[in-house]
Structure formats: C-alpha cells, structure tokens
C-alpha cells in the first residue's frame, strides 16, 4: 500500500466514525457544538499520531506478553500531556470537553490502531496511518458537531445563522444518536462507489 493510500484510507474507506464505528463515546458526547467536536478530534488525532509513532519505535523490544499494558502506559502518558497542555493553554475548550479528555485513553481507535497497525509497521507508515485516521475522526466529529449545533441552536461555530432557537433534542443525547445514524447512512450511501 503506497504512502498516500495509507494516509487517505482513514478519511473515507476506513473512516473511524462512519465506517469502522469506533470511538462512539466521545463522538456522541462532545459534538454538542462544532468547536467542541473539532477540539476533541484534534486532541485525539495528536494522541493517535504520537502513540502510533512511539509504539512503532518500541515494537521490537516489547515482549509479546506485556504488549497491551506497555501500549496503554504509552497512550495514557500522551493523553495526560495533552490534558495538562489544554488546561494550561486552552482553558475554555478544556472546561467544555471536561471528562472526555482523559477518556481519550480508552478510545478504541487508539489502542486499535496500535495493535492492528503500529505494532507491525514502520514508524513513517504508522505516523501516516495515525494522521489519516485522526484526520478522518476530526472531520467526522466536526461535521456531526456542525449538524447538531445548527439544528439544535441555529448557530455554527458560535455564529448565529438563524433567528435563534432550534430543535432542542439535537443538543441532548437522543439527538446525538439520531444525527449520527442519519450521517452514517448518508455517508455510506454516497461513498458506496468509492469502496
């Protein structure tokens, strides 16, 4: 698989949100607004790239039986670093995302890519894989955030587009599932020919 394909497969063919259906917890929980979805996606993408690179670097020196604990320590360390930096430099986003930031550790995408790809491929390929899947995740979350914010309050990225107010349910939990379900259906229908 060429370098370019390794990167782009995370955007459509193996889109983590709409095709692989991984990382649903932060997807549903943090997309109440576009900026929150974008922030969560970027934080996760950073952790994904860094952990893929780190794990690819140590893949030959980690004994097979302690693979999982070793990967989790690495992932948790990067998440803690991201959390501290967000608390220090982006406090508003940090407060908005709240408990979902430390929950990045248990995001299935990260350990999943570590096991399925980073532990078996070169550092560069792992970095590209992380970047592609991370970017796919970020775009998906931002899209879902835009949809929910617009339908729920008439604004996008805080900019009010309609007179005000909206279909409140889209900011609450049930609306997250409804919006996500429709987006999955539409996405798969539109990209059927590409896959």
């Amino acid at each position: 698989m060429g370098k370019f394909q390794i990167f782009t497969k995370g955007l459509i063919k193996e889109n983590p949100t709409f095709v692989l259906l991984l990382g649903m917890c932060p997807t549903l929980g943090t997309t109440t607004s576009a900026i929150n979805g974008l922030g969560m996606g970027v934080a996760t993408m950073f952790v994904l790239i860094m952990s893929n690179v780190a794990i690819s670097l140590i893949k030959n020196v980690v004994p097979d039986k302690v693979r999982i604990p070793a990967f989790i320590v690495v992932i948790a360390a990067f998440v803690t670093v991201v959390q501290l930096c967000m608390e220090a430099y982006t406090p508003d986003l940090y407060n908005a995302l709240g408990v979902f930031i430390p929950l990045i550790v248990v995001n299935c995408i990260i350990l999943g890519r570590a096991e399925a790809f980073a532990s078996r491929n070169s550092v560069l390929d792992s970095a590209l894989d992380g970047a592609g899947i991370g970017l796919g995740f970020t775009l998906s979350l931002t899209l879902l955030g835009v949809v929910r914010e617009f339908l729920g309050s008439g604004a996008v990225f805080g900019i009010q587009l309609t007179g005000g107010g909206g279909i409140l349910i889209f900011i609450l939990a049930p609306g997250a599932f409804i919006a996500l379900g429709y987006l999955i259906a539409i996405f798969n229908k539109l990209t059927a020919k590409l896959r």
Partner: protein
Amino acid sequence: MESTLKNMVLTLFIITFVSATAVGFVYQVTKGPIAEAKSAKITAAIALVLPEFDNDIGQTRHIENIDGGQVIVYTATNNGKVVGYAVETFTNKGFRGEIRLMVGFLPDGTINKVETVYHSETPGFGDKIERGRSDFSVQFEGQNPSDFKLAITKDGGDVDAITASTITSRAFVDAVERACRVFQSIKTAEGNKLKRF
C-alpha cells in the same frame, strides 16, 4: 523479544519510568499557566459583577466555610475607597449538582450583578441562568435583599422562576441567599470592629 520474566519486568519498568518522567516534566512546565488560567477566569467574573476598581483583587481573597462548602469574598476598592464586594457562592441543590455564582454587592448591600461561574444544568432549560440565555439573572440587579424576597414566587418570594426549571431556579436563589448571608456577616463583623474604637 522473548517473554521471559526478566525481559518483561525490565521493559515495563523502563517504559513506565520514561512515561512518568515525561509527564512530570510537562506538569512542571504547565503548573504556572494552569494556575494563571484559573485565576484569570475568577478575575474576569469579578470584573463583570462589580463597578470599576483598581486594587489587586486576588489579594483580598477571604474564604468562609459555610453550609458544607466554601464561599469566597473579594473586596474591591477604587482609590482606597471600597466600591463593592464580589462573593463567589455555591449551591448543591442544582438539578444536576453544584452551581457556582459570582454575586457583586455594592457597599450598601444592593446586588449589583450576578454571573454564573459554573453549572451543569440542562441545555435549553436550567442553562437559562446564564446571562446570555435569558433575563433570569438580570432581575436581581439593583435589588436589595432587605426589600426583595429571595425566593421564587411559587415559594412566596419576589423572584420570577424560569419556566419548566423550578429546581434550577430555586437552587440559583439558594446560592444568592447564601451570598447575602455571608455578606451580612462580613458587614456586621466590620461594623463591630469599628465600634471598638
């Protein structure tokens, strides 16, 4: 690498050691900015609820332990004259838990402004306590607790509750009432201090 006991222990030790060191390092670097971000948020809330002041308000921080929580009082002065008190108050009776407010008092006890500092109330319902979402918090401005009954109308008071958010409205009033109590006790203590001269 082979999974012998020695290899496993050694690898895990090195990985956790390096990870912990890295996290510790980042913690040190971000300690300052994190403290600054937290105090900047409080200072911004204080500036919102009080008239202009020129003192280093953080230095006047005074903590009162009351009702199982902390109420914090800041004194604002302009050219040495007291222009107001900012009281960071709380309630645990919110629909979804704790609500923290910053209540600005003028020296005569009138409420200047109320700002919501923290809450997790329901979007579209309880979150209307936020300034931009409804006029609920605005009705307290300019009111003096001596002639404005701090209870919602349903409970015999003068406060207009948020439609369909009685619990949140009651909790908000509870927090404001707590702030008034603390303010009164501070004023009484100050008055007693002056009487001794």
